[in-house]
Protein backbone atom coordinates (compact mmCIF):
# COMPACT_ATOMS: atom_id res chain seq x y z
CA UNK A 1 0.00 0.00 0.00
CA UNK A 2 1.35 3.43 -0.98
CA UNK A 3 2.27 5.66 1.92
CA UNK A 4 0.60 9.04 2.36
CA UNK A 5 3.87 10.93 1.95
CA UNK A 6 4.55 9.15 -1.36
CA UNK A 7 1.01 9.72 -2.56
CA UNK A 8 1.27 13.43 -1.77
CA UNK A 9 4.59 13.70 -3.60
CA UNK A 10 3.17 11.79 -6.56
CA UNK A 11 0.21 14.20 -6.77
CA UNK A 12 2.51 17.23 -6.44
CA UNK A 13 4.56 15.95 -9.35
CA UNK A 14 1.43 15.48 -11.45
CA UNK A 15 0.30 19.02 -10.71
CA UNK A 16 3.74 20.32 -11.58
CA UNK A 17 3.54 18.45 -14.86
CA UNK A 18 0.41 20.43 -15.71
CA UNK A 19 -2.39 18.12 -14.62
CA UNK A 20 -5.50 19.82 -13.24
CA UNK A 21 -6.31 19.33 -9.53
CA UNK A 22 -9.59 17.64 -10.45
CA UNK A 23 -7.90 15.05 -12.60
CA UNK A 24 -5.20 14.38 -10.04
CA UNK A 25 -7.71 13.95 -7.22
CA UNK A 26 -10.02 11.84 -9.39
CA UNK A 27 -7.30 9.20 -9.54
CA UNK A 28 -7.32 8.89 -5.76
CA UNK A 29 -10.97 9.25 -4.71
CA UNK A 30 -10.42 7.48 -1.41
CA UNK A 31 -7.79 10.05 -0.38
CA UNK A 32 -9.38 13.10 -1.96
CA UNK A 33 -10.51 14.72 1.30
CA UNK A 34 -7.08 14.55 2.81
CA UNK A 35 -5.09 15.39 -0.31
CA UNK A 36 -7.10 18.35 -1.62
CA UNK A 37 -6.31 20.79 1.21
CA UNK A 38 -2.65 19.79 1.29
CA UNK A 39 -2.23 20.21 -2.44
CA UNK A 40 -4.14 23.49 -2.32
CA UNK A 41 -1.96 24.77 0.49
CA UNK A 42 1.20 23.72 -1.35
CA UNK A 43 0.00 25.66 -4.39
CA UNK A 44 -0.82 28.74 -2.30
CA UNK A 45 2.68 28.67 -0.77
CA UNK A 46 4.23 28.19 -4.20
CA UNK A 47 2.35 31.25 -5.42
CA UNK A 48 4.05 33.27 -2.68
CA UNK A 49 7.42 31.82 -3.62
CA UNK A 50 6.91 32.79 -7.25
CA UNK A 51 6.58 36.48 -6.44
CA UNK A 52 9.33 38.79 -7.61
CA UNK A 53 11.39 40.68 -5.10
CA UNK A 54 11.16 44.49 -5.33
CA UNK A 55 13.09 45.73 -8.36
CA UNK A 56 15.02 48.33 -6.37
CA UNK A 57 16.15 45.69 -3.86
CA UNK A 58 17.21 43.41 -6.66
CA UNK A 59 19.20 46.20 -8.28
CA UNK A 60 20.89 47.16 -4.99
CA UNK A 61 22.04 43.60 -4.43
CA UNK A 62 23.20 43.29 -8.03
CA UNK A 63 25.42 46.33 -7.48
CA UNK A 64 26.83 44.84 -4.31
CA UNK A 65 27.64 41.65 -6.14
CA UNK A 66 29.46 43.29 -8.99
CA UNK A 67 31.33 45.30 -6.42
CA UNK A 68 32.17 42.17 -4.47
CA UNK A 69 33.31 40.52 -7.70
CA UNK A 70 35.66 43.42 -8.30
CA UNK A 71 36.95 43.33 -4.74
CA UNK A 72 37.59 39.62 -5.19
CA UNK A 73 40.04 40.52 -7.91
CA UNK A 74 41.71 43.08 -5.63
CA UNK A 75 42.87 41.06 -2.61
CA UNK A 76 44.34 44.01 -0.73
CA UNK A 77 40.84 45.16 0.15
CA UNK A 78 40.27 41.97 2.09
CA UNK A 79 42.73 43.11 4.69
CA UNK A 80 40.19 45.61 5.94
CA UNK A 81 39.12 45.00 9.52
CA UNK A 82 35.57 43.65 9.28
CA UNK A 83 33.36 41.85 6.83
CA UNK A 84 30.76 44.58 7.24
CA UNK A 85 33.18 47.29 6.25
CA UNK A 86 34.31 45.20 3.32
CA UNK A 87 30.74 44.77 2.18
CA UNK A 88 30.10 48.46 2.60
CA UNK A 89 33.16 49.13 0.47
CA UNK A 90 31.85 46.93 -2.26
CA UNK A 91 28.62 48.64 -3.11
CA UNK A 92 29.34 49.17 -6.77
CA UNK A 93 27.83 48.49 -10.13
CA UNK A 94 29.58 47.67 -13.32
CA UNK A 95 27.02 46.27 -15.65
CA UNK A 96 23.44 46.93 -16.49
CA UNK A 97 22.94 44.46 -19.22
CA UNK A 98 20.43 44.84 -21.94
CA UNK A 99 19.79 46.45 -25.23
CA UNK A 100 17.04 48.16 -27.09
CA UNK A 101 16.12 51.06 -29.23
CA UNK A 102 18.94 53.47 -29.89
CA UNK A 103 16.47 56.07 -31.02
CA UNK A 104 14.27 55.80 -27.94
CA UNK A 105 17.20 55.97 -25.56
CA UNK A 106 18.29 59.27 -27.00
CA UNK A 107 14.92 60.76 -26.06
CA UNK A 108 14.78 59.33 -22.54
CA UNK A 109 15.18 61.44 -19.44
CA UNK A 110 15.82 60.61 -15.77
CA UNK A 111 12.74 59.18 -14.17
CA UNK A 112 11.14 58.42 -17.52
CA UNK A 113 10.15 54.95 -18.56
CA UNK A 114 13.13 54.68 -20.88
CA UNK A 115 15.71 55.94 -18.42
CA UNK A 116 16.92 52.51 -17.35
CA UNK A 117 17.00 51.44 -20.97
CA UNK A 118 19.23 54.40 -21.76
CA UNK A 119 21.61 53.36 -18.99
CA UNK A 120 21.60 49.78 -20.26
CA UNK A 121 22.38 50.91 -23.77
CA UNK A 122 25.17 53.17 -22.53
CA UNK A 123 26.67 50.27 -20.66
CA UNK A 124 26.36 48.01 -23.66
CA UNK A 125 28.07 50.64 -25.80
CA UNK A 126 30.99 50.81 -23.41
CA UNK A 127 31.30 47.08 -22.92
CA UNK A 128 31.29 46.23 -26.62
CA UNK A 129 34.24 48.52 -27.26
CA UNK A 130 37.23 46.28 -27.00
CA UNK A 131 39.69 49.11 -27.51
CA UNK A 132 40.40 50.69 -24.11
CA UNK A 133 41.46 53.91 -25.80
CA UNK A 134 37.87 54.32 -26.96
CA UNK A 135 36.03 52.75 -24.06
CA UNK A 136 37.77 54.70 -21.27
CA UNK A 137 36.68 58.18 -22.48
CA UNK A 138 33.22 56.79 -23.23
CA UNK A 139 32.91 55.41 -19.70
CA UNK A 140 33.90 58.77 -18.26
CA UNK A 141 31.35 60.47 -20.49
CA UNK A 142 28.64 58.02 -19.32
CA UNK A 143 29.53 58.67 -15.68
CA UNK A 144 29.40 62.43 -16.27
CA UNK A 145 25.99 62.00 -17.90
CA UNK A 146 24.78 60.09 -14.83
CA UNK A 147 25.94 62.92 -12.60
CA UNK A 148 23.99 65.38 -14.77
CA UNK A 149 20.96 63.06 -14.48
CA UNK A 150 21.25 63.10 -10.70
CA UNK A 151 21.37 66.87 -10.65
CA UNK A 152 18.26 67.00 -12.84
CA UNK A 153 16.40 64.50 -10.66
CA UNK A 154 17.41 66.42 -7.59
CA UNK A 155 16.20 69.71 -8.98
CA UNK A 156 12.86 68.02 -9.64
CA UNK A 157 12.88 66.58 -6.09
CA UNK A 158 12.62 63.09 -7.55
CA UNK A 159 15.99 61.70 -6.53
CA UNK A 160 15.92 58.14 -5.18
CA UNK A 161 18.56 55.53 -4.35
CA UNK A 162 18.98 53.58 -7.60
CA UNK A 163 20.32 56.48 -9.74
CA UNK A 164 22.93 57.20 -7.07
CA UNK A 165 24.04 53.58 -7.05
CA UNK A 166 24.15 53.69 -10.81
CA UNK A 167 26.28 56.84 -10.86
CA UNK A 168 28.80 55.28 -8.48
CA UNK A 169 28.71 52.11 -10.49
CA UNK A 170 29.51 53.95 -13.70
CA UNK A 171 32.37 55.78 -12.01
CA UNK A 172 33.66 52.46 -10.71
CA UNK A 173 33.34 51.03 -14.21
CA UNK A 174 35.40 53.89 -15.61
CA UNK A 175 38.07 53.69 -12.89
CA UNK A 176 38.22 49.93 -13.19
CA UNK A 177 38.97 50.24 -16.91
CA UNK A 178 41.47 53.01 -16.24
CA UNK A 179 43.23 50.99 -13.55
CA UNK A 180 43.58 48.16 -16.03
CA UNK A 181 44.86 50.32 -18.88
CA UNK A 182 46.35 53.46 -17.29
CA UNK A 183 48.45 54.24 -20.34
CA UNK A 184 45.38 54.59 -22.53
CA UNK A 185 44.28 57.90 -20.99
CA UNK A 186 45.97 61.20 -21.71
CA UNK A 187 46.67 63.84 -19.11
CA UNK A 188 43.70 65.99 -20.11
CA UNK A 189 41.33 63.10 -19.60
CA UNK A 190 42.89 62.27 -16.22
CA UNK A 191 42.49 65.86 -15.06
CA UNK A 192 38.91 65.91 -16.26
CA UNK A 193 38.31 62.66 -14.35
CA UNK A 194 39.89 64.12 -11.23
CA UNK A 195 37.62 67.10 -11.33
CA UNK A 196 34.65 64.81 -11.95
CA UNK A 197 35.32 62.47 -9.01
CA UNK A 198 35.80 65.45 -6.70
CA UNK A 199 32.45 66.78 -7.80
CA UNK A 200 30.83 63.40 -7.32
CA UNK A 201 32.32 62.97 -3.86
CA UNK A 202 31.09 66.40 -2.85
CA UNK A 203 27.63 65.39 -3.97
CA UNK A 204 27.80 62.07 -2.06
CA UNK A 205 28.94 63.95 1.01
CA UNK A 206 26.01 66.30 0.74
CA UNK A 207 23.56 63.46 0.12
CA UNK A 208 24.87 61.61 3.18
CA UNK A 209 24.23 64.63 5.36
CA UNK A 210 20.77 65.16 3.96
CA UNK A 211 19.61 61.55 3.60
CA UNK A 212 15.94 61.35 4.52
CA UNK A 213 16.13 57.95 6.26
CA UNK A 214 18.74 56.00 8.17
CA UNK A 215 18.72 53.33 5.46
CA UNK A 216 19.38 55.90 2.74
CA UNK A 217 22.15 57.41 4.89
CA UNK A 218 23.73 54.01 5.33
CA UNK A 219 23.62 53.33 1.59
CA UNK A 220 25.12 56.67 0.61
CA UNK A 221 27.77 56.49 3.35
CA UNK A 222 28.84 53.13 1.96
CA UNK A 223 29.20 54.72 -1.46
CA UNK A 224 31.11 57.63 0.02
CA UNK A 225 33.51 55.23 1.71
CA UNK A 226 33.98 53.44 -1.55
CA UNK A 227 34.76 56.70 -3.32
CA UNK A 228 37.69 57.44 -0.98
CA UNK A 229 39.94 55.43 -3.28
CA UNK A 230 39.10 57.34 -6.42
CA UNK A 231 41.16 60.49 -6.03
CA UNK A 232 44.32 58.71 -4.79
CA UNK A 233 44.08 56.34 -7.74
CA UNK A 234 43.85 59.18 -10.25
CA UNK A 235 46.63 61.15 -8.55
CA UNK A 236 48.84 58.08 -8.60
CA UNK A 237 48.31 57.65 -12.33
CA UNK A 238 48.87 61.38 -12.92
CA UNK A 239 52.07 61.32 -10.85
CA UNK A 240 53.44 58.48 -12.89
CA UNK A 241 53.33 60.62 -16.03
Amino acid sequence: MIEQKDLLQHCLEQLKAGETPDRVLARHPEHKDELAPLLGLARAIEARGAESMPAAAKARIRYQLYGAARVRRAPFLFSLPTWGLRLAMTVIVVLLLGGGSWVAQAQSRPGGALFSLRMAVDETRASVLSDPKQSIPLRLQIAEDRLADIRELRSQKRLSGPPIFTLVGETEGFLSALEQFPDQADRALLERALSFVREERALLNELTERAPTSRARRDVSALLELSENWEPLLLRILDSR
Binding site: I61, R72, L95, R215
Partner: protein, 178 residues
Protein backbone atom coordinates in the same frame (compact mmCIF):
# COMPACT_ATOMS: atom_id res chain seq x y z
CA UNK B 1 20.74 22.32 -15.88
CA UNK B 2 23.73 21.97 -18.18
CA UNK B 3 23.54 25.70 -18.73
CA UNK B 4 23.54 26.28 -15.00
CA UNK B 5 26.61 24.06 -14.74
CA UNK B 6 28.35 26.16 -17.38
CA UNK B 7 27.46 29.36 -15.56
CA UNK B 8 28.81 27.97 -12.31
CA UNK B 9 32.08 26.99 -13.97
CA UNK B 10 32.42 30.42 -15.58
CA UNK B 11 31.65 32.10 -12.27
CA UNK B 12 34.32 29.97 -10.62
CA UNK B 13 36.79 31.35 -13.14
CA UNK B 14 35.86 34.87 -12.04
CA UNK B 15 33.28 35.72 -14.68
CA UNK B 16 31.08 38.32 -12.96
CA UNK B 17 28.45 38.18 -15.69
CA UNK B 18 28.00 34.43 -15.22
CA UNK B 19 27.52 34.93 -11.50
CA UNK B 20 25.10 37.73 -12.38
CA UNK B 21 23.03 35.24 -14.39
CA UNK B 22 22.96 32.84 -11.45
CA UNK B 23 21.87 35.73 -9.27
CA UNK B 24 19.04 36.59 -11.65
CA UNK B 25 17.93 32.95 -11.65
CA UNK B 26 17.84 32.54 -7.89
CA UNK B 27 17.36 36.03 -6.42
CA UNK B 28 13.56 35.95 -6.19
CA UNK B 29 13.47 32.49 -4.69
CA UNK B 30 16.19 33.18 -2.15
CA UNK B 31 14.52 36.45 -1.18
CA UNK B 32 11.08 34.81 -0.82
CA UNK B 33 12.55 31.92 1.16
CA UNK B 34 14.15 34.40 3.56
CA UNK B 35 11.06 36.61 3.62
CA UNK B 36 8.94 33.62 4.60
CA UNK B 37 11.25 33.09 7.57
CA UNK B 38 11.74 36.66 8.79
CA UNK B 39 8.63 38.40 7.41
CA UNK B 40 10.51 41.69 7.09
CA UNK B 41 11.45 42.72 3.59
CA UNK B 42 14.39 44.92 4.67
CA UNK B 43 15.93 42.06 6.67
CA UNK B 44 15.17 39.60 3.88
CA UNK B 45 16.94 41.93 1.44
CA UNK B 46 20.02 42.22 3.67
CA UNK B 47 20.14 38.45 4.13
CA UNK B 48 19.70 37.90 0.39
CA UNK B 49 22.65 40.21 -0.27
CA UNK B 50 24.68 38.40 2.37
CA UNK B 51 23.79 35.03 0.86
CA UNK B 52 24.93 35.97 -2.62
CA UNK B 53 28.07 37.78 -1.48
CA UNK B 54 29.05 34.72 0.55
CA UNK B 55 28.23 32.48 -2.39
CA UNK B 56 30.43 34.62 -4.63
CA UNK B 57 33.28 34.45 -2.16
CA UNK B 58 32.95 30.69 -1.75
CA UNK B 59 32.06 29.62 -5.27
CA UNK B 60 35.60 28.65 -6.20
CA UNK B 61 35.36 25.87 -3.60
CA UNK B 62 31.95 24.65 -4.72
CA UNK B 63 31.83 21.16 -6.23
CA UNK B 64 28.78 20.11 -8.27
CA UNK B 65 29.13 16.44 -7.46
CA UNK B 66 28.64 17.05 -3.76
CA UNK B 67 25.57 19.25 -3.97
CA UNK B 68 23.36 20.77 -6.66
CA UNK B 69 24.01 24.52 -6.94
CA UNK B 70 20.51 25.47 -5.75
CA UNK B 71 20.82 23.30 -2.67
CA UNK B 72 24.26 24.74 -1.94
CA UNK B 73 22.95 28.29 -2.28
CA UNK B 74 19.97 27.67 -0.01
CA UNK B 75 22.26 26.11 2.57
CA UNK B 76 24.17 29.40 2.59
CA UNK B 77 20.87 31.29 2.87
CA UNK B 78 19.82 29.08 5.76
CA UNK B 79 23.13 29.68 7.54
CA UNK B 80 22.72 33.43 7.02
CA UNK B 81 19.29 33.13 8.58
CA UNK B 82 20.62 31.21 11.58
CA UNK B 83 23.38 33.81 12.05
CA UNK B 84 20.77 36.54 11.89
CA UNK B 85 18.65 34.88 14.54
CA UNK B 86 21.67 34.31 16.72
CA UNK B 87 22.77 37.91 16.45
CA UNK B 88 19.30 39.26 17.06
CA UNK B 89 19.07 36.77 19.95
CA UNK B 90 15.44 36.13 19.38
CA UNK B 91 13.24 34.42 16.93
CA UNK B 92 10.56 36.58 15.40
CA UNK B 93 7.35 35.74 17.16
CA UNK B 94 4.79 37.83 15.38
CA UNK B 95 1.40 37.04 16.79
CA UNK B 96 -1.39 36.28 14.43
CA UNK B 97 -3.41 39.09 15.92
CA UNK B 98 -0.86 41.49 14.47
CA UNK B 99 -1.05 39.99 11.03
CA UNK B 100 -3.35 40.64 8.15
CA UNK B 101 -6.78 39.14 7.86
CA UNK B 102 -6.55 35.39 7.68
CA UNK B 103 -7.52 33.35 4.71
CA UNK B 104 -10.86 31.65 4.83
CA UNK B 105 -9.92 27.99 5.06
CA UNK B 106 -13.38 26.91 3.95
CA UNK B 107 -12.88 28.21 0.42
CA UNK B 108 -11.86 26.00 -2.48
CA UNK B 109 -8.40 24.79 -1.43
CA UNK B 110 -7.06 25.48 -4.90
CA UNK B 111 -8.15 29.10 -4.78
CA UNK B 112 -6.91 29.95 -1.33
CA UNK B 113 -4.46 32.76 -0.70
CA UNK B 114 -1.92 32.65 2.11
CA UNK B 115 -0.38 35.94 3.21
CA UNK B 116 3.26 36.21 4.23
CA UNK B 117 2.13 36.95 7.77
CA UNK B 118 -0.04 33.85 7.93
CA UNK B 119 2.73 31.82 6.46
CA UNK B 120 5.31 33.08 8.90
CA UNK B 121 3.01 32.49 11.85
CA UNK B 122 1.96 29.04 10.63
CA UNK B 123 5.54 28.02 9.85
CA UNK B 124 6.61 29.08 13.33
CA UNK B 125 4.35 26.33 14.68
CA UNK B 126 6.23 23.61 12.79
CA UNK B 127 9.36 21.79 13.83
CA UNK B 128 12.62 23.23 12.49
CA UNK B 129 13.02 20.50 9.91
CA UNK B 130 9.40 20.62 8.77
CA UNK B 131 9.69 24.38 8.36
CA UNK B 132 12.89 24.04 6.39
CA UNK B 133 11.49 21.32 4.16
CA UNK B 134 8.28 23.24 3.41
CA UNK B 135 10.15 26.49 2.71
CA UNK B 136 12.72 24.86 0.44
CA UNK B 137 10.19 22.75 -1.43
CA UNK B 138 7.41 25.26 -1.99
CA UNK B 139 8.97 28.70 -1.68
CA UNK B 140 12.46 28.05 -2.94
CA UNK B 141 11.14 25.54 -5.48
CA UNK B 142 13.80 22.90 -4.83
CA UNK B 143 13.12 19.29 -5.79
CA UNK B 144 12.93 16.51 -3.22
CA UNK B 145 16.49 15.49 -4.08
CA UNK B 146 17.82 19.06 -3.82
CA UNK B 147 16.01 19.65 -0.55
CA UNK B 148 17.42 16.39 0.82
CA UNK B 149 20.92 17.56 -0.06
CA UNK B 150 20.33 21.03 1.37
CA UNK B 151 19.12 19.82 4.75
CA UNK B 152 21.29 16.71 4.77
CA UNK B 153 18.47 14.21 5.11
CA UNK B 154 17.32 11.33 2.93
CA UNK B 155 14.73 11.86 0.20
CA UNK B 156 12.30 9.66 2.13
CA UNK B 157 12.76 11.83 5.18
CA UNK B 158 12.07 14.96 3.10
CA UNK B 159 8.82 13.47 1.77
CA UNK B 160 7.80 12.70 5.32
CA UNK B 161 8.70 16.21 6.51
CA UNK B 162 6.86 17.69 3.56
CA UNK B 163 3.71 15.68 4.28
CA UNK B 164 3.72 16.28 8.03
CA UNK B 165 4.72 19.91 7.62
CA UNK B 166 1.90 20.69 5.20
CA UNK B 167 -0.63 18.82 7.35
CA UNK B 168 0.47 20.66 10.49
CA UNK B 169 0.51 24.01 8.71
CA UNK B 170 -2.97 23.44 7.37
CA UNK B 171 -4.22 22.48 10.83
CA UNK B 172 -2.72 25.56 12.49
CA UNK B 173 -4.00 27.93 9.83
CA UNK B 174 -7.46 26.41 9.94
CA UNK B 175 -7.61 26.59 13.76
CA UNK B 176 -6.51 30.19 13.86
CA UNK B 177 -9.04 31.13 11.21
CA UNK B 178 -11.93 30.01 13.39
Amino acid sequence: MAREGDLVRQAQRGDAQAFGCLYETYADRVFNYLLSRVCDSAIAEDLTAETFVKALQAIHGYRWRDLPFGAWLFRIAHNALVDHWRSSARKNTTSLEESDVLSDQTVDPFNQVVTWQELEWGMAQLTDLQREAVALRFIAGLSIAETAKAIQRSEEAVKDLQHKGLAALRKHLAQSAR
